[in-house]
């Protein structure tokens, strides 16, 4: 068990002034109000913004969780609710960061356009443990559909979370745990570069 004092406590909405204290590799417990959005929801949100209409939730300091939960059973707030692959949202994300988005929760790589926007406008990228849907569900106290119910699991939801366990992957300096973590591990084991061999070599003539 990891003692809880190894985690930083973070509140959502996530104030821009709090971002500089969040460093790549930090483990955090997130509490407060966040919003769920996946591919189809992002598309609709961007369409609204392009038409100059107000978004269904305040983007300033907002944290978005990339998740398509399973249906809730009984009196639970939500079903299984682990992160989905973030890179599918990359085309939409820089625009949302410009509009005030402070944090994203997902899993997997982000492209350099997202990272550049994070550095310039201030935003952090957290990972939740991919696959840990039942565990993460228990940290979600309330869930309500705000818009686009027709999208089913992809609808826009407002969640109230308590002590959701996350890791800071990319911080406002652009440092990326997905690059540094594996590199550090390889270096500490004397493996400098993944050698795949079999590079095309010309035969000796």
């Amino acid at each position: 068990m990891t003692p809880k004092h190894h985690f930083k406590h973070v509140q959502a909405p996530l104030d821009k002034s709090a971002l500089k204290d969040l460093k790549s590799g930090d483990r955090v417990l997130l509490s407060g109000t966040i919003y769920t959005l996946r591919d189809a929801g992002h598309k609709r949100l961007l369409e609204l913004l392009e038409q100059g209409e107000a978004p269904p939730f305040p983007l300033e300091n907002a944290v978005i969780y990339y998740v398509g939960p399973s249906p809730a059973v009984g009196d639970r707030a939500i079903g299984s609710a682990g992160p989905t692959t973030s890179s599918r949202m990359d085309p939409y994300t820089p625009q949302l960061i410009v509009q005030g988005l402070s944090g994203m929760i997902g899993k997997g790589y982000r492209d350099h356009c997202v990272v550049d926007a994070m550095k310039e406008y201030g935003a952090v990228y957290f990972a939740a443990t991919g696959g840990a849907g039942a565990l993460l569900s228990k940290t979600i106290l309330e869930s309500k559909v705000l818009a686009w119910e027709d999208l089913g699991p992809e609808a826009l939801r407002q969640l109230v979370v308590k002590d959701m366990p996350l890791t800071v992957i990319i911080d406002t300096d652009g440092r990326d745990l997905y690059l540094e973590g594996p590199r550090t591990w390889r270096e500490s084991h004397g493996i400098l570069d993944p050698s795949l061999g079999n590079e095309a070599e010309c035969p000796t003539l």
Binding site: R27, G108, L135, P182
Partner: protein, 278 residues
């Protein structure tokens, strides 16, 4: 001739998916627990701890282990001395339909371009084999797309040989990185035709985690490639560490003298699958 009712098939399929979506494959969970003890980097160790805890919560609450309960993949081995009352394909589809409804599982199947959801997670992806005997073997494997999306296929040249296949597989694991929810379970198909090799890779994933190939030649390759993948340092959840993959299984098929098809089907750590014999 032995007769099995369609309803018996439906019930079996339903139970298999209800169980498979709520727990990791037995060998995978044991491998995750063992990896948790050995992992030294803090974020990686914490991620593995959460996966073990997640399995416990899913078992206790009946909630699916992961919200992506996948597309329903079914391998069927139909004994040629068995007669199914009613339609076998429809009996299987109905089992999937009932499992995803009764289990409160996510319905993730849609038209690829219009986006229209089918509403009940059908159609299941069913592969049939006719075999000797009077048994019906059903193998259920819900397949999530975080990992499916990181799978790859290549038509290599015979000259690329073992080292070319090895390079392709290791590159695939590295590119999958954090996207496919590592530690990974990797299925490799080698040989056959373009269509067969992808299915061989999927079939390789039906082998229980930790069970080696029956042929020592392929068992040795599996061991070597897994070792190399675990030198990439990708680690649990891609945050750096010693456990990038839990297992690697190869299925080889005879192929044409002019080709060397290789497919790498990536599965996440949960490697959900269940089997039943009727």
């Amino acid at each position: 001739m032995r007769t099995i009712s369609g309803e018996a098939v439906t019930q079996a399929v339903k139970q298999l998916f209800l169980s498979a979506c709520r727990m990791p494959e037995h060998g995978a969970l044991a491998a995750i627990e063992s990896a948790h003890k050995k992992e030294t980097s803090a974020p990686a160790k914490e991620a593995l701890r959460q996966l073990v805890e997640n399995a416990r919560i899913a078992r206790q609450t009946g909630m699916p282990y992961c919200q992506d309960t996948g597309m329903a993949v079914v391998f069927v081995e139909l004994g040629q001395d068995v007669r199914i009352e009613g339609s076998l394909p429809e009996a299987i589809q109905e089992g999937v339909r009932r499992a995803y409804e009764e289990g409160y599982f996510r319905k993730s199947v849609r038209d690829p371009l219009t986006g229209q959801n089918t509403g009940d997670n059908t159609p299941a992806v069913i592969h049939y084999d006719v075999v000797p005997g009077d048994k019906l073997r059903i193998f259920a494997a819900p397949k999530g797309f975080g990992s499916e999306n990181m799978s790859r296929i290549a038509m290599l040249r015979p000259a690329d040989g073992i080292s070319g296949a090895r390079k392709f597989v290791i590159e695939t694991a590295q590119k999958a990185g954090p996207n496919a929810c590592p530690p990974l379970v990797i299925g490799v198909g080698i040989g056959g035709t373009f269509d067969q090799v992808a299915l061989a890779a999927k079939r390789a994933l039906t082998r229980d985690v930790g069970v080696p190939h029956a042929d020592p030649f392929y068992a040795k390759l599996e061991e070597e490639w897994l070792l190399e993948i675990n030198r990439l340092g990708v680690g649990p959840q891609g945050m750096g560490g010693r456990t990038t993959a839990l297992s690697l299984a190869i299925e080889a098929l005879p192929t044409h003298i002019a080709g060397l098809p290789v497919a790498c089907n990536i599965n996440c750590h949960v490697a959900r699958h269940m089997r039943e014999v009727l």
